[in-house]
Point group: C2
């Protein structure tokens, strides 16, 4: 008689592709009902969940390793913004019948590579069939020293508003994939085109900045639904406003080329989704320390404005000295 679950294809898929990723001893080789962890003493646990769905958050023709990495990285980005160190993650993977094993193999390799890179091992998971598109939900766990998680609610009047990296690339990258004529319209060469598309395909979470945020930022969040709307959420949670100099919002060379040709594109850049940069507020007396820590972590940070005392949405001041008006301030799938 064969082993009792030899005829369970699910069991075989897990053993073949995912058990090798479960390097945390508490994952028990994915051979138990649950993972078990001893949280480090003196630490709080930080927990977040984010899902990506084929046809909604990624293109179904995207390479499987990129899909896996994106799913993990959007969660790592949340941990980074909270100042947390990754501890591990749990995966739910719903697969249509059309997905064959080479896809799964590439998916698992991409996931494993990022799990190593970000030191965030697989702790557990569930693999299931779906009649819909590939759906990947990841729950990421992290730790911070007790009571030091960076919240959205800590911004205070006079704090400096900073963002990492560049803003709006992913929104342009998405348009380049959605609208075949966009590259031509924006006169983008291959290098710029590739840069923008890549930024949509694969976020670069700022986990290297976590400690600098924890030690210096009064508030932070990751920019996933557009800078204007996300900064609005941070201000709302903190009961403050912000005045942002739109000209200071850091743009990539490629995005600057687009704005030079099509000035109205700035709207898309600051309200489009998928940046996975971090917006944070830093008290003026912590600014030098924060800049030094960011430089040591090799994460570019840019000052874009200040927190204001009034309780209202942030204002982005345009080149004409007037607040910009936005049609839609945040990206929403609903």
């Amino acid at each position: 008689m064969a082993a009792p679950d030899a005829n369970s294809a699910e069991h075989r898929l897990i053993a073949t592709y995912f058990a090798p990723l479960a390097k945390h001893p508490g994952a028990l080789g994915l051979l138990d009902d649950a993972a078990v962890l001893a949280p480090p003493a003196g630490c709080d646990l930080v927990v977040t969940v984010d899902a990506i769905v084929g046809g909604i958050h990624f293109f179904t023709e995207d390479a499987a390793d990129m899909v896996a990495k994106k799913a993990l990285r959007v969660n790592l980005s949340d941990l980074a913004a909270k100042g947390a160190k990754p501890l591990g993650f749990l995966l739910t993977l719903a697969l249509p019948k059309s997905v064959a094993e080479p896809w799964l193999d590439l998916f698992a390799r991409g996931l494993g590579s990022d799990a190593e890179l970000y030191e965030c091992p697989l702790l557990g998971g569930d693999t299931t069939r779906t009649t819909g598109p590939v759906t990947v939900s990841i729950t990421a766990l992290g730790t911070v020293p007790k009571d030091t998680m960076v919240r959205r609610s800590g911004a205070r009047t006079g704090d400096v508003v900073m963002v990492t990296g560049t803003i709006g690339d992913a929104a342009l990258g998405l348009e380049l994939r959605d609208v075949v004529t966009a590259a031509k319209r924006w006169k983008l060469d291959n290098r710029f085109n590739y840069h923008l598309i890549r930024r949509y395909l694969l976020p670069l979470p700022r986990n290297a900045l976590a400690e600098a945020l924890r030690l210096n930022a009064s508030a932070a969040m990751d920019v996933s639904d557009g800078l204007v709307g996300d900064l609005g959420k941070l201000c709302e949670a903190s009961g403050v406003s912000a005045e942002i100099d739109a000209a200071k919002v850091p743009l990539s060379e490629a995005a600057r080329a687009v704005v030079a040709l099509e000035p109205a594109a700035i709207q898309k850049l600051v309200t489009g989704g998928d940046d996975y940069e971090i917006v944070c507020t830093v008290p003026p007396e912590r600014l030098d320390a924060f800049r030094a820590a960011a430089e040591a972590a090799r994460v570019p940070v840019t000052e874009i404005g200040r927190i204001k005392a009034v309780r209202e949405p942030p204002r982005f001041i345009g080149s004409d000295g007037k607040p910009m008006l936005f049609k839609q301030t945040a990206f929403s799938h609903f």
Copy 2:
């Protein structure tokens, strides 16, 4: 100007339906990127994830509150089997456009009611669109005193094999919904019919037994993919076998009525999925204490066999004194 995210329907859905469920202070009212928890001192964290998909794990016409409860309960069942006390859960909900707000309202009410009942509050979540069916993934967190999680791998020769409740009802309930003639074939009256269908629709996780398991069981797991296959996994993890007296496997009155008419149905009962009972092994010297604790917890438990020293799949001895042969030992969607 409106609030910056007033035009985000997702934000409104979360605020309306899910924020009221986020009663744990660390959930931060679902207004931050992550939840923050101080794990109780001296405890290990137990983490598990399970998803249910419309058309695969539930019928798309099932009432939304039942879908929500099933999604949470299949995870609570894993915590119960590990001896863990629920701490809270994270929710991923992927919704097709066809799902209207009354569905969501009922879903949230069902979820909230079970979160109260099992003392397992919502900690965080992600709501997204899908072009596929409703997909609900839940990550449940629990705690056990340090180093006391009940594993699959602790069964030892001579231990008594026990199961909770009754086995096979959900498999019959599924067939009653799939095959319109089944009720007639099995001559089931309304009460039996309802009992079996209900058992498929809504699991009854055995969280009341968690402490009894932790204090007395050498190994345990929840029975979700069929008793034969799941006990096989437990035996494999423990490097042992088991000899089970098939006649001792506890059946409901309704299931006994089916087997009386159709003796071959026993195959379906012990290999069908969705029982969400617990199979565990108890050293003989802990048996009285386990039985007493189970009785105090009002969870029926039944002795069905013994652990054997050989490393091979468990044997279910039939009424003819011979090991039963199974076509398929475990339920698999793959």
